[in-house]
Symmetry: C2
């Protein structure tokens, strides 16, 4: 129990970097979107997902997964957006548990109007500060983190090491 494997100096620094990203970036992005475009990042992502879908539709659970939000949060977000006329919701006939959200023309206008400033801001606070190599590394790191329960591998490595 007390033989915890503490973080190495590098890991500690990396962890603090991650914490900094977790705590600061969302605020920075949301502040711009909220003040200039009056929407949250989650709302933006929902609109982006839907506008990019070939039929402009997605089921709620897909949206939740794609935007990294819980179902309950997404439910409220989409309810707000529906009230604002940006999306519509419609139950599916062949499985009436499923709800399909579809972006409206107003929703498409909305995101087209919001996108330039949002992208510029993301570029300002992220990509203008990273080298192309770092961008590639970030992609890989993202894959590694999301990808697999490294549990099996990790457990094996740990017992070997």
């Amino acid at each position: 129990m007390s033989d915890t494997e503490w973080l190495s100096e590098d890991e500690r620094e990396a962890w603090l970097a991650l914490v900094s990203i977790m705590f600061r970036l969302p605020g920075a992005v949301e502040t711009q979107l909220r003040s200039e475009e009056d929407m949250s990042l989650a709302e933006y992502l929902v609109l982006a997902m839907l506008s990019e879908a070939s039929d402009h539709r997605h089921r709620m659970s897909e949206l939740a997964a794609a935007t990294n939000t819980s179902q309950s949060r997404l439910s409220r977000i989409v309810a707000r957006m529906e009230k604002a006329g940006l999306v519509t919701r419609e139950g599916r006939l062949d499985d009436r548990r499923v709800v399909i959200a579809e972006i409206t023309d107003a929703g498409i206008e909305r995101i087209q109007q919001a996108a330039p400033a949002h992208v510029r801001h993301v570029r300002d606070i992220v990509f203008n500060r990273l080298s192309p190599e770092q961008v590639g590394q970030l992609v890989e790191i993202g894959h590694s983190l999301n990808r697999g329960p490294a549990e099996d591998v990790a457990k094996g490595l740990r017992s070997i090491a």
Copy 2:
């Protein structure tokens, strides 16, 4: 206006990786801390900062900066922790605007008790999935994001803060 420089495919992927980190990691970490140790990550970080200080004290603004939280948020967090007996607050005599937080013995016990499971969990969801090279890259990426290219520093700091 319309000559926005859109994200490249790589940048887009990297941005989605960052969004995933922003949205998912905090939840994962907070859930473990909340359920197993009954504290938030911010509280944990405050206790960690204080317990590592040579005199077990820090001023509020230092704590806010070190834990990447706003002053108002930190104020409430420390107020809660004080009520729980984990820290004490005390005005400073030579500048009575300043408030010094000091960790109590109970607070030290608390973090020593919480640390092993927390560190194990961070290792599970982060470092067991990253190669040593990736850990180093992450450190560099964190540095790059926090202090951006000189030309953008002012703008960037403002938007991040």
